[in-house]
């Protein structure tokens, strides 16, 4: 056997086991779900009814819009704040910047429900903020529990550090010499930012926003513990369809809908990643 063929064999041998696991436990179930989503629960015949249900039923439609609202708010606020934080971390060399640079890694490793629970102890009606308010004679009811603002706050807690991390890594890759070069030819701070730093880091912003978007469309823990009963985030609606109503076809259809919402951003992500490949070769 030639050396090349041998190498090929090793390469395929190493990757196939993991690939098979993905095929069996992810690709196949997804395929099964897509097929199921077009089947009538009783007769098994082809139907669109599972899909139309989610776009015509007023409760489900409200859930969908509510989810989009929460997710888009999360993405916009998280990315803007994370970008500012990343700029600060990249261009300030002080002790405080260093401290924040270490501290912001931790939220990534805190189990989701612990963080949610910790936030609940603060914002619930008998939580810390309310108690501090009582000290000053004010009865503060934030009303964030079982409300979109609570979910968005919690999402920000999870996603700002993550997005800042991604963007910091991108900004760190911009050499100081480029920035100094721009300053040398007379560009002001703002001009340097808009013409050098922003375009060079845009790719990381896109990657960060797609991941924030995708991970929040199907989020479960936060709305499960903090969300109200109506409207619901899609993740909860899906869980209900499956676990409460045992409507397997509808739950399959809903997962496909969520996937389509995600895939819009996944497309942007893949596109921006592959584009880079061209000139990197």
């Amino acid at each position: 056997m030639s050396k090349k063929a041998k190498q090929m064999l090793v390469a395929y041998g190493l990757v196939i086991p993991a690939f098979m696991v993905v095929m069996l436990t992810v690709a196949y179930p997804i395929l099964a779900a897509v097929i199921k989503s077009f089947q009538d629960p009783k007769t098994g015949e082809f139907t669109w009814a599972n899909y139309t249900y989610f776009f015509t039923d007023p409760v489900q439609l409200k859930n969908l819009l509510y989810t989009l609202y929460v997710v888009i708010m999360t993405v916009v606020i998280a990315i803007v704040v994370a970008y500012l934080l990343a700029l600060y971390l990249r261009f300030t060399k002080s002790k405080i910047a260093k401290t924040i640079g270490t501290l912001y890694l931790l939220p990534r490793f805190v189990p989701a429900m612990c963080a949610v629970y910790a936030m609940i102890t603060i914002i619930r009606d008998s939580g810390l903020i309310n108690r501090i308010g009582l000290l000053f004679g004010k009865d503060i009811h934030l009303g964030m529990m079982y409300h979109a603002s609570g979910i968005i706050t919690m999402n920000l807690w999870f996603n700002i550090p993550f997005a800042a991390l991604m963007i910091t890594a991108g900004l760190g890759a911009i050499p100081d010499s480029i920035i100094e070069g721009a300053r040398d030819v007379g560009a002001g701070k703002f001009k340097t930012f808009t013409s050098m730093i922003l375009p060079l880091s845009l790719k990381d912003v896109v990657v960060a926003s797609t991941f924030v978007f995708m991970s929040n469309v199907g989020s479960f823990t936060t709305p499960y513990l903090m969300g109200g009963t109506s409207p619901k985030m899609l993740g909860i609606a899906l869980f209900d369809q499956f676990n409460k109503y045992l409507a397997y076809n509808r739950s399959a259809a809903l997962s496909v809908i969520m996937f389509l919402i995600c895939s819009v951003s996944a497309f942007v992500y893949i596109y921006s990643n592959l584009k880079e490949k061209e000139w990197e070769k």
Partner: protein
């Protein structure tokens, strides 16, 4: 000393830039660490009734309570067993795949790589519900095998992509140098490539272990109450426990593994290592 607590004095003492940096640090710490610190405080509160900001009585009452609950103690053991098995199996499956993708060029490489994105692209809950239907068929519901499979899906993408990007950053020349002085391919891998790729691999392993420790929705669905890991138990505690301290203690027990692991691997964890898992280069 107390003079410094007056914001105006403080402002003039440290200067404008430092002042705003301190404000930033304060807001950052309050938002990201305030809830956690409050929760830690609550865990040691024997008595904590409404108008009080600080507990009236301190102690370990609720820790004792939790360790007396048989099902909670069992959930801790089950969590560890599942997390250890998951980490071991994914290391054996995914690290070779990462190496193959990083080091060999062959047709279909990109497809293999993108297939792992599937685990993150389709909403997790959608995959889980669809798998659950299959698991019913093959009697995997409520078994360790089923739960471990679910946990592997959870972190597979990182377990392939992070080591892949780590292996790629090892220069070929370094491997060639080892080969030149007479090391075989296997020895080269274990003595040169693997140690140099260790940071990426450790972060991936850390993710897998912690991801398994905190996975809740899939376990809740597939474990069907027979396998109840800590996060699933935590859902129950948050949603219907009478005393806020029970959740606080249990959350801390859930965070301890993370803290220990991060401490053990602290020299490897940095923005670059973590963001490597999100790029397809």
């Amino acid at each position: 000393m107390f003079k410094m607590l007056n914001p105006r004095r403080f402002y003039h003492a440290v200067g404008r830039k430092k002042f705003w940096e301190f404000i930033l640090l304060a807001v950052f710490v309050l938002f990201f660490y305030g809830p956690m610190l409050n929760m830690v405080m609550l865990a040691f509160a024997n008595e904590y009734s409404v108008p009080h900001v600080f507990p009236e009585a301190w102690g370990f009452k609720w820790w004792k309570y939790i360790f007396q609950q048989k099902n909670l103690v069992r959930s801790m053991i089950q969590s560890f067993v599942v997390a250890l098995i998951t980490t071991g199996v994914s290391m054996v499956l995914c690290i070779p795949a990462g190496y193959s993708i990083a080091r060999f060029k062959y047709p279909g490489r990109k497809i293999f790589m993108l297939s792992f994105l599937l685990t993150n692209a389709f909403p997790k809950l959608g995959i889980f519900t669809s798998i659950a239907v299959l698991f019913y068929k093959y009697n995997l519901m409520g078994t360790y095998t089923g739960v471990v499979l679910i946990h592997m899906i959870h972190s597979m993408m990182f377990m392939v992509w992070l080591p892949a990007s780590a292996f790629r950053s090892v220069h070929r020349q370094q491997e060639e140098a080892a080969r030149d002085v007479g090391a075989g391919p296997v020895r080269t891998f274990f003595k040169v490539t693997l140690p140099m790729a260790m940071p990426g691999i450790s972060v991936a392993t850390l993710y897998t272990f912690l991801g398994s420790m905190e996975e809740a929705q899939g376990t809740m669905l597939v474990g069907t109450g027979k396998i109840q890991t800590m996060p699933v138990a935590m859902y129950g505690i948050v949603l219907d426990s009478s005393a806020v301290q029970i959740g606080a203690v249990f959350a801390i027990l859930l965070i301890i593994p993370s803290v220990l692991m991060i401490f053990a691997m602290r020299k490897y964890i940095g923005p670059e290592a973590i963001s490597g898992g999100f790029k397809m280069k």
